[in-house]
Point group: C2
Chain length 457, copies 2
């Protein structure tokens, strides 16, 4: 094993923790396209968005110029309960792979929500509380976002109503129970509680739900109930802003030891983790101060970057949300039932979509069984049982490290380990039993949903 | 909130991590009573124990004099993957309770096994590997020990065979699946694979198993298969030795900030966590260098300290193991099905039993519903979903902090938060549904099993 001048885990001191979120849009020459009103196709105004979102979050959503946002003290205090997260040097993985590459991962799983989602959940709950709201509504797929929001709402004494994609609700009763422990109410979606839910159930009686559908229900409840707003765990600009804390900590930890990464890898569903992880590095790249290879990894079953189109689309199935310009498979696309519930969204963050379109980052897709092979390998070598979502990044990090083994290059690879897989053991079981399948949509499938995209000039 | 001169989480640097385990027996005037051969009632010799346990572990088991054991480098390297564990200042809990007490907890749950059990698992696997063994056998109740051992065996390339108490095996399929992810084989106990299992099944066809029974099966398999030994996650002296790393880190972290605890609290089943947490503090107490209130917390349903007797007893139901002198309820005592599977052992560590008998520590018992009330309260305030076992300590820490609120005393309370409750959501669900019951054995029950204790002069 190499000399351990770098510790296994780099922790920042409290005084070294970021005091600001970084808004990467401030450094983008081409800004992400604005959200559009689905009726008029005009850019959404703050007043319109305020019916759905908290006021300060609307302001953050629309702000393409402010570079740094001071993190409010209340949020800093909460962050101190579970942050800084460790930047881990994967010595054991390097040794096992026999690679000259140096591998680091930013581990966001050491909190009860089990993932990075808490970083934005606490921010969104804070602004809701500050606005004097009674509560918030949201959707959750895999359950990590719902858990995170439940914790955040419990901390600030807010009511929390979660629409959970039905298939996850049934497969993951324990996730639901964690949310209940934090006082949230959890409803399987589609439900009979909303107009849009009843409509979807009438049209597709046997449906197991989707994120897009659960979003529609959550938005409807927020809009119809005074004192409530809707919050979202990914995709939106505001979420990427909050999640920049991941990248800022990562960069501070690397800087502390004079480490400069060559490759930065993150899994990408809606883009919350990837956008947060890469934020300060992308900023350097945009400003011409440094260059990095940045790789988004998505499931082959839901390949919005690698096989989608860059176009305006609805964020939800019920088409009640604004239109966003993003890499998308079409809002009616429902991916096959793979086990990375957090990566099954039909679209991709508008910020990341623009950066990808401008050539600032790469994207690749990986199949489910190859992801679980990497997950189990990693668990045995590094001792952390990863979430299926996170394991997409592990897969590509291992592949890149093996390329270094061939070429002899001592590249420095940093990847985001977004969370733990304790609530995903059904998926691991399928993998162990050899019952896991790799679904890849056909070109015909994709063309069908692409043809259904809204027409926007 | 108070001024934060003490950070929320105190982490040691790698260079500050303990390099030695501390053997508290070296400082005990009255040593724990020796293990006895169940046939002859003579003290077990190393040769006899070596049929069951690894050689170096036998030596550690019998060594009442060596104060410090250097931790082998291979184990230090593994420790660095998940240690040091944080010593957390519970600022939020203090504020919520409105107590002048200062509360700290040593959190051992941030690793995939979910608890402190990994500290001894990796040590026992290391010595088995060093001895050139093929594999090890063990039992597990709640599943934390089995998971920890699976991880440790996977790291060293050892075969791992786990007998899991049947009721846990059925209630916790996901725990089983984590063990399988690490390559372990898991058998529900009692099983038809062993003589003792077949005998127990014949006598009690509907039994859901017990730790004592699973131990008997694991020992039998180890003894009958060349190249295998049995390992145990609690009770034994060697386990307390390894677990001293918890207390040593805790003390180093406190010393770093000049903090002196008044009260130290740990949950106690077999005693592995409590013995480890208190080790260096107890050492000071034994040497007359300092004084602390030390409190063991056990479930009211399995009250070995508070309602048991100090006597020689079998460690297992099948009576194949040596006799140990300990606080015990009798090896035939099977506690009611409470949800703290890790605290359902009929006996208590001989080291702790002697220290308790000598008046160096206190013990108290708490009911299950009061434990879950504390668990949920803690989860909401401190953001960590605790294991039911750990929540026994939380309950008493909160009670002590509330006493300080009444008296105005600014006591410093340290407790052990041994693990997370992600695999215990069935228990939380019962609590939420109001279906949780508090079983307390009657005096008649206890007298019955006490009468069955082996007669030892």
């Amino acid at each position: 094993m190499a000399e351990k001048t770098i510790p296994y885990k780099i922790y920042l001191n409290e005084s070294e923790m970021p005091k600001f979120w970084y808004n990467v849009r401030a450094d983008m020459t081409t800004k992400p396209a604005p959200l559009l009103n689905p009726g008029t196709h005009q850019p959404m105004k703050a007043e319109e968005l305020s019916a759905v979102f908290c006021d300060e979050l609307v302001q953050q959503e629309l702000d393409n110029t402010t570079r740094e946002y001071p993190i409010p003290q209340e949020i800093l205090d909460f962050y101190k309960m579970y942050r800084p997260s460790p930047l881990v040097r994967a010595y054991c993985l390097e040794q096992k792979l026999g690679t000259p590459a140096k591998i680091y991962y930013k581990f966001e799983g050491n909190n009860t929500s089990g993932s990075h989602k808490l970083n934005s959940a606490i921010a969104q709950a804070y602004y809701a509380k500050k606005q004097g709201l009674k509560g918030v509504t949201t959707e959750t797929g895999a359950g990590q976002w719902g858990t995170a929001l439940s914790m955040a709402c419990s901390y600030f004494g807010l009511d929390c109503k979660v629409f959970m994609v039905k298939v996850s609700y049934e497969q993951k009763p324990f996730r639901r129970e964690v949310m209940r422990t934090y006082g949230a109410s959890v409803t399987p979606s589609p439900s009979m509680e909303t107009e849009v839910g009843r409509k979807i159930l009438a049209e597709h009686p046997g449906t197991t739900g989707s994120l897009g559908c659960a979003i529609s229900e959550a938005v409807e409840v927020a809009v119809k109930n005074p004192g409530y707003r809707y919050v979202l765990g990914s995709v939106l600009n505001q979420v990427l802003l909050h999640q920049s804390v991941i990248g800022l900590e990562t960069k501070a930890a690397l800087d502390k030891y004079g480490i400069v990464p060559d490759i930065i890898i993150g899994c990408a569903g809606g883009g919350s983790n990837l956008g947060g992880l890469i934020a300060p590095f992308m900023g350097q790249k945009l400003r011409g101060e440094a260059d990095y290879r940045i790789i988004a990894v998505e499931p082959a079953s839901c390949p919005s970057f690698t096989r989608g189109v860059y176009a305006y689309d609805f964020c939800d199935t019920g088409m009640v949300c604004p239109l966003a310009k993003m890499y998308t498979l079409g809002c009616d696309f429902i991916p096959s039932p793979n086990h990375a519930g957090g990566l099954r969204y039909h679209g991709m963050s508008p910020v990341l979509s623009q950066l990808y379109d401008d050539g600032y980052m790469e994207a690749t897709s990986v199949t489910q069984t190859s992801v679980f092979e990497a997950a189990e390998y990693f668990a045995r070598v590094e001792g952390i049982l990863p979430a299926p979502e996170s394991s997409h990044a592990i897969r590509v990090a291992i592949d890149e490290a093996l390329k270094c083994k061939e070429t002899g290059e001592e590249k420095t690879i940093v990847f985001g380990l977004t969370g733990t897989g304790y609530f995903d053991m059904v998926a691991y079981e399928k993998f162990h039993e050899g019952q896991m399948e790799d679904y890849i949509p056909t070109d015909e499938d994709l063309a069908k949903y692409r043809a259904m995209l809204p027409k926007v000039d």
